[in-house]
Symmetry: C2
Subunit: 125 residues, 2 copies
DNA sequence: AGGGGTACTTACCAACAGGTGAGTACCCGA
DNA sequence: TCGGGTACTCACCTGTTGGTAAGTACCCCT
């Protein structure tokens, strides 16, 4: 289980931050939640094209454990669960901004393709 | 080999930056080279307690390919190779600063152990 | 002559990340 | 009644990551 181990010992701050951000979809989840404020499970799944339900849940659970994400369950039928960022999640997202800028510059430099994850307008609909 | 694939397509800048930073020792290598300016292979190995020679080389080669690290070979006997950061490496390290600060704060919050990398002072403190 | 240093390379192996596809339990609209 | 939506859980499988240990080739010091 990746759900227990984590939390150090760390070499440095970057190490500790990486431990929490590492995961194929985590930075995207962070961005989605920061952008929309609150998102339901299925909304996140649709917003992250290609993610598997297993990984989405696993990442959300880990991020909840790490204090980045808040999970609000409404005991209704059909089930409703809302995810949002905690203050730590928000600040982490802010700390990632400069890294994102560097990466964007790198994309421009090497002329890599950029898969649009732009959600304000969906590419295929 | 992980030496070829990489370079996108990426979802966003963070994705692109992560692609380059991901690797157990890369952020530490980045910090070591930024701190010392120039380091020889064996110096890096000693500066990163626990790293295997295989991983050190592999990471250095990938970082060279990604344009973060410059490798200068002196054709002498015994062999001498000096590693240093390129301007892109330096700017990446700078972009990681805020993430490092966030991580340091997290370490403080959760009270995790912090393994000193046994340098004059620990990274991003 | 033996041990240690330089900077690697190679083969083998274990652990883990992440994907696939199915199942659960309940509800709603056609 | 059938298909689809809600939010998951579980078993299985594969590819990648990273570790171990050995080898290479040449040199210096004792």
């Amino acid at each position: 289980m990746a759900t227990s181990a984590r939390r150090g010992p760390y070499f440095c701050g970057i190490d500790a931050a990486m431990d929490v951000v590492t995961g194929k979809w985590k930075s995207l989840i962070l961005w989605e939640l920061d952008h929309y404020g609150v998102r339901r499970f299925a909304e996140l799944r649709r917003g992250l094209p290609g993610v598997s339900e297993k990984m989405l849940i696993q990442h959300l659970r880990e991020m909840e454990e790490d204090g980045l994400v808040h999970r609000e369950v409404y005991r209704e039928v059909p089930p409703k669960v809302e995810y949002s960022l905690t203050e730590h999640g928000v600040s982490l997202n802010a700390a990632l901004a400069s890294l994102g800028a560097w990466g964007t510059e790198r994309i421009r430099r090497i002329g890599a393709e950029k898969v649009s994850a732009d959600v304000t307008e969906t590419p295929q609909s």
